[in-house]
């Protein structure tokens, strides 16, 4: 018992390490019923992987969420592929993530086929007009929720405004804007470090006298 608890503490994993097929089966389920993305799916993931199956401790799950937020791409895919890697290495990671994406892949391929066949039908054209409006509304909602979550710092505000204006006045690849944002963040740390050193230096001089 003692031994088992120690192992949990060390790795954040419980003893019931599942095979890749078990993980893939649960991921297939999440990929099939995980509609809507975002918070609803995060709840589903938590209940499947932490509550229903004894695969992860709460602590390990939270750590994985923190890592997933740092990686590029969809949060849910990052989180689940990271967990799968923890549970069974690269093989489980690849197979389970494939199982996760498979249902959406099949569904969207079928829908794409149907859409491209009927896109000139007047009814479909009307549907598309409604759908475009819906997507714009969603994007605005996403922007709003991201602004609310963003760190309250004048630097963030300036970087965001600069990127927005730059993108409006000239056609620029958004990849460059993302890279520039990352560099601005790194630059801020460098400047702060240098400034701290500068502030600290005089007090050191006083000490040596």
């Amino acid at each position: 018992m003692q031994n088992k608890n120690e192992k949990i503490l060390e790795t954040g994993q419980t003893d019931n390490t599942p095979g890749w097929l078990d993980v893939a089966r649960v991921y297939l389920k999440i990929g099939t019923i995980g509609f809507g993305g975002g918070f609803a799916v995060m709840d589903l993931i938590h209940s499947e992987l932490v509550e229903k199956h004894p695969w992860l401790t709460e602590q390990r799950y939270q750590n994985m969420v923190a890592l997933a937020e740092m990686a590029p791409g969809a949060l849910t895919v990052n989180l689940l592929s990271g967990i799968a890697y923890r549970l069974g290495g690269v093989k489980t990671m690849i197979l389970a993530t494939t199982a996760l994406i498979l249902p959406s892949f099949v569904l969207i391929t079928l829908l794409a086929g149907a859409f491209l066949a009927w896109q000139n039908h007047p009814m479909v054209k009307g549907a598309l007009e409604g759908l475009t409006a819906g997507v714009v509304g969603l994007l605005l909602a996403v922007v709003w929720s991201m602004i609310k979550k963003a760190p309250r710092h004048w630097c963030c505000f300036v970087v965001g405004l600069l990127a927005f204006v730059l993108g409006i006045v000239m056609p620029i690849n958004p990849v460059w804007l993302v890279l520039m944002g990352g560099m601005a963040g790194a630059l801020k740390v460098v400047v702060e470090t240098l400034r701290n050193r500068h502030i600290n230096t005089p007090s050191e001089d006083n000490g040596t006298k």
């Binding site: 509609f35 809507g36 993305g37 918070f39 740092m70 590029p72 791409g73 849910t76 895919v77 990052n78 993530t97 996760l100 994406i101 249902p103 959406s104 892949f105 969207i108 391929t109 794409a112 086929g113 491209l116 009307g126 549907a127 598309l128 409604g130 759908l131 475009t132 409006a133 819906g134 997507v135 714009v136 509304g137 969603l138 909602a141 996403v142 922007v143 991201m146 602004i147 963003a150 760190p151 710092h153 630097c155 963030c156 970087v159 965001g160 405004l161 990127a163 927005f164 993108g167 958004p174 990849v175 804007l177 993302v178 944002g181 990352g182 601005a184 963040g185 790194a186 801020k188 740390v189």
Partner: protein, 174 residues
């Protein structure tokens, strides 16, 4: 089968996957750029790609599948899907390996803080470029406002909202 087309798809969507920091929606502007540069989809088709990514289960990034399918059929769908998700797997693998070093570094956090406002700005660009053609139609403007406020209140799921606007669009044709 056109190999150079598949290569172009793979290359483009690897880039989308690699720079899509800040969640699935951060990929939308990158996809729009790729689609626009290669003239792969009309603006309306692109909106459909994003919307279908919403009404299907799974992440928004699955819109890449739609774009791949439109460009090069089934093999295009497979290539685009694999390409868009590979960077996520590689990144998670590397993060897991260097977890402690990364977590203790202020630099990684600062870089993310610099990227986040940019992502907000570029998503707003997409909303503006997609929304401009709608501005002459009153019911589409109302739909934008209604969907945005309902999505912000989080009372209704994204998929349902998209489905609702599709139905409304069909009713307006009748």
């Amino acid at each position: 089968m056109d190999i150079s087309l598949l290569y172009n798809l793979a290359h483009s969507f690897l880039k989308v996957g690699m720079f899509g920091f800040g969640g699935g929606f951060a990929m939308v502007p990158l996809m729009q750029n790729v689609v626009h540069q290669n003239a792969w989809l009309t603006p309306v088709q692109f909106a459909a790609a994003i919307a279908l990514g919403q009404v299907t289960p799974g992440p928004v990034a699955i819109s890449a599948t739609f774009i791949g399918y439109k460009v090069a059929g089934f093999s295009g769908a497979v290539v685009a899907t694999i390409a868009v998700f590979i960077p996520s797997l590689v990144a998670m693998y590397l993060l897991d390996k260097f977890y402690l070093k990364i977590r203790t570094s202020h630099i990684t956090q600062a870089i993310m803080h610099g990227i986040l406002p940019v992502v907000i700005a570029i998503i707003l660009h997409v909303a503006i470029s997609m929304g401009q053609p709608l501005m002459h139609s009153w019911w589409q403007i109302l739909t934008v406002i209604a969907v945005a406020s309902l999505a912000i209140s989080r009372r209704i799921g994204y998929g349902v909202l998209i489905a609702g606007s599709v139905v409304l669009g069909m009713l307006m044709v009748l």
